[in-house]
Symmetry: C2
Subunit: 111 residues, 2 copies
């Protein structure tokens, strides 16, 4: 099985999480996971803004999110199932994830 390093809750650092959120593609992934948890990487690829992205690039973004402590994953057959580490993020940085998700929605509504 491939390695999937993921920081412990206590190791999640703010600047790292901010960096993970500092990219439109990753924000879109996070927002999608908020509305439909437990997605496969492949399903996430058919999002607006990510359709034209190479799968190696998508894989890169998934790694950034996971290493920052934003997401977790498990393998199911050939698929990799991704979800948000909601409780971990909420316990470490209360309100942060909700505020970011609300921010994504707020921006989407302006279009």
């Amino acid at each position: 099985m491939r390695a999937m390093p993921m920081p412990d809750v206590s190791e999640i650092d703010l600047a790292g999480v901010m960096h993970a959120f500092a990219d439109p593609s990753r924000l879109a992934i996070v927002a999608a996971l908020a509305h439909m948890p437990e997605q496969s990487c492949d399903d996430l690829g058919s999002l607006a803004g990510l359709m034209s992205m190479a799968k190696s690039t998508r894989s890169h973004h998934m790694r950034v999110l996971r290493e920052a402590g934003v997401t977790a994953a498990r393998y199911e057959g050939t698929r990799k199932i991704i979800w948000l580490r909601r409780e971990d993020l909420d316990s470490r940085f209360p309100g942060l994830l909700d505020a970011v998700l609300a921010g994504v929605d707020a921006e989407a509504e302006l279009v």
Copy 2:
């Protein structure tokens, strides 16, 4: 007078703000501004973690924060006074700034 471009509230974008927060030095500046508003750039330079920074580098960080819409500034004599755009950020991304500031405190307390 030197130019100080600053985005309108409606132009503040989430990824940009996240990027502005994605640096320990800038997070330290933001946290300092939260506790002691209306600082001069020079005063902010005597923060832990910023003491050894060249003033050109500090100036760079100030610009990133301002262009992201996080801070505003005015000149007072030879000094430049900086403050957080609290209301603007709160109206555009409710709860975000507070969550980030709480996060900085939470990390500081772990030391």
